[in-house]
């Protein structure tokens, strides 16, 4: 990296941290620290988006488009519907009860054990996700740039802990506004620069058509296939349930909009996310498609994790790998010729030539895929611990190799900003939930505001250290963004089910709801291990199991907990 890149990277990150600490230096009460106050809707909207957009978004998603096309965008189709439902149902209840965390409501509606169970389920999911949020960029950037993994984890974790502990929820939201501006600017600039890097005679439209000929332009799939991870139907149902649960019941998101100046500001922030989230994801996927089109003309490495590839070259498998890499080069040339032929046919509007070139391009791609598979098999023999799925390395290795000085620093700042923004929300939420739903509720109910503020800061530091420890010792999982989403889907459906029972099944009491949640969570975990069901469906299944089991158990459980008193303001 050049000095300019270092200047832009460190300058951007330092500015955001210092600005966050300075801007929120007056935070002196637990209410301000845990919930934030007086936020306007643009800050809330950007904060909600920044919380969800982790570094994994920028490392994994373009690579996913490169390998598999754009169908991942369907994952977000349920999100705008969820935003509307949350505005109508969830937000008024949280505001009326003036809750500090979403789970405080469950105690009003059911009892302490349901509140604690929901808080614990979220803490398990979020605690692991916070670790992955730090680990994901650290493992990839340390591998490609030769930085120390532990130093990166320590640096990122410490910076996030610094401003989160300093200013709490307000600092998180204020810094996320800056981080989201950096992220959006970075995405737009990256898209323009990649388009500019295409060959002179290949327009963006032609590049998109070439990628489309190889199955990368597939943002909508209306087929009803339960095994397919991303379809319109899984997005509009499973994605809806996941988004409802994530934005409606996960404290890392609830905390963002509870800090609004009014209910109207909170609602506008949520709707802002409902309108902008899908275009943003589409653009990130489209960047992956453009990178794929770029590599139709510029030979990509046979394996994108450079250090692992180099290790394999130096091993006993080196000669065999060299032979495969030589075939990779000639097969790539054949595919490039077919891509040039298809581009020419498209320009000439020659249908016969186009059909012939499309068939040729598909055949060349299949051959290239075969050579890549051979290379991966050799790499596995050479480096048995190597992770063969290298899609998380595609975008960042492209950035490092082909973007001009300055932009590399900006794109790395984007990735690290995203990592810090989502981690900060998670730590802030974990600290709040631990203090409000466990510490204050179970052990120190009469503690002073000053004591709660201090405990909140200490628990935030504690969770930050847990996340950093997890990040330091975790092993690379198959695909980082999917790992986070799978983890979320296993827990979120059940949590949403608890909230839906609370909102809509007024006759269900605490013990049946509690047992239903335990049964449903066990059922989802068993299903995850024994079935091939796409993970998005676990959100629907978990939620339906809780609602169904709660209604059934209540019917056969006449001696459940007493009917709760009318809901009152709580914390």
């Amino acid at each position: 990296m050049s000095s300019l890149d270092w200047f832009i990277l460190l300058g951007t990150l330092a500015f955001i941290v210092v600005w966050g600490v300075w801007k929120t230096r007056g935070v002196a009460t637990a209410q301000e620290y845990l919930r934030g106050t007086d936020l306007r809707w643009p800050t809330i909207g950007l904060s909600i988006m920044a919380t969800q957009a982790s570094a994994i978004t920028f490392l994994s998603v373009p690579g996913q488009a490169y390998e598999d096309g754009m169908r991942f965008v369907q994952f977000y189709f349920g999100l705008p519907i969820a935003m509307v439902i949350i505005c109508v149902v969830f937000v008024p209840i949280y505001y009326r009860l003036n809750v500090m965390t979403a789970y405080a409501y469950l105690e009003q509606r059911f009892d302490t054990k349901v509140r604690v169970l929901a808080a614990l389920l979220v803490m398990v999911g979020r605690g692991l996700a916070a670790g992955i949020s730090i680990y994901a960029p650290a493992i990839i950037l340390s591998s490609l740039l030769g930085w120390s993994l532990n130093a990166m984890t320590l640096l990122m974790g410490s910076a996030v802990i610094l401003y989160t502990v300093s200013g709490g929820a307000k600092a998180v939201s204020q810094t996320q506004k800056q981080q989201m501006v950096v992220i959006l600017a970075g995405i737009l600039i990256a898209a323009v620069v990649i388009a500019y890097r295409l060959p002179d005679d290949v327009s963006v439209a032609t590049a998109t058509s070439l990628a489309g000929a190889l199955g990368r332009v597939n943002p909508v799939d209306f087929s009803f296939n339960l095994d397919s991870r991303y379809t319109f139907w899984s997005g509009i149902t499973g994605g809806l349930f996941l988004a409802l649960s994530y934005f409606g019941t996960d404290q890392s998101q609830v905390q963002r909009y509870l800090g609004g100046r009014s209910m109207a500001e909170s609602r506008l922030g949520l709707l802002f996310n409902g309108i902008l989230k899908i275009p943003m994801q589409f653009l990130i996927l489209f960047i992956g498609v453009l990178v794929f089109a770029f590599y139709l003309f510029e030979r990509p490495p046979v394996f994108f994790n450079g250090p692992t590839l180099e290790a394999a070259r130096q091993s006993a498998q080196g000669p065999a790998l060299a032979e495969v890499e030589a075939r990779w080069a000639t097969t790539f040339d054949a595919r490039r010729d077919q891509a040039v032929a298809l581009a020419a046919a498209l320009a000439d509007d020659d249908a016969a030539a186009e059909a012939q070139a499309r068939a040729g391009l598909l055949a060349a791609q299949a051959e290239l895929d075969g050579v890549r598979a051979e290379a991966k098999a050799l790499i596995k023999q050479a480096v048995p611990t190597a992770e063969l799925k290298d899609s998380d390395y595609i975008f960042v290795s492209f950035v490092l190799k082909y973007l001009p000085p300055g932009l590399i620093g900006l794109l790395l700042a984007v990735i690290l900003s995203a990592a810090m923004s989502s981690t900060a929300s998670e730590l802030n939420a974990l600290g709040s939930t631990t203090v409000v739903d466990l510490y204050q509720r179970l052990w120190r109910p009469g503690a002073s505001d000053r004591h709660i503020l201090r405990a909140s800061k200490l628990f935030t530091v504690f969770w930050g250290l847990v996340a950093m420890a997890f990040a330091a010792f975790a092993a690379l999982v198959d695909n980082l963004i999917q790992a986070v989403n799978i983890l979320g889907s296993i827990f979120y459906g059940v949590i949403l089910g608890i909230f839906l029972v609370a909102f809509f099944l007024k006759w269900v009491r605490a013990t049946p709801a509690f047992l239903a949640a335990l049964l449903a969570q066990t059922g989802v975990i068993v299903l995850y291990f024994v079935s091939d069901i796409g993970f998005l469906w676990f959100n629907v299944i978990g939620c339906a199991l809780v609602v169904g089991a709660a209604a059934l158990l209540q019917a056969v459980w006449p001696g459940g907990s007493p009917t709760p008193a009318p809901l009152e303001e709580t914390t």
Binding site: V73, F77, P80, I81, M83, V84, C87, V88, Y95, A205, T208, S209, A211, G212, G215, V217, N218, P219, V220, F232, R261, S262, M263, A264, E265, R267, L268, L271, G274, I275, I278, P279, F282
Partner: protein, 39 residues
């Protein structure tokens, strides 16, 4: 704004919600057309 104030756009919350859902429908339609043209 008071808690139950109308939104700054379109006058009522249901209209704003309808706009968000209409935007979703238009995006899906746009993606489908995008796939038909380039896919």
């Amino acid at each position: 704004m008071a808690p139950e104030d109308p939104p700054p756009l379109l006058g009522t919350w249901p209209r704003l919600y309808a706009l968000v859902l209409l935007n979703l429908a238009l995006m899906v339609l746009g993606f489908w057309l995008f796939e038909r043209v380039f896919g």
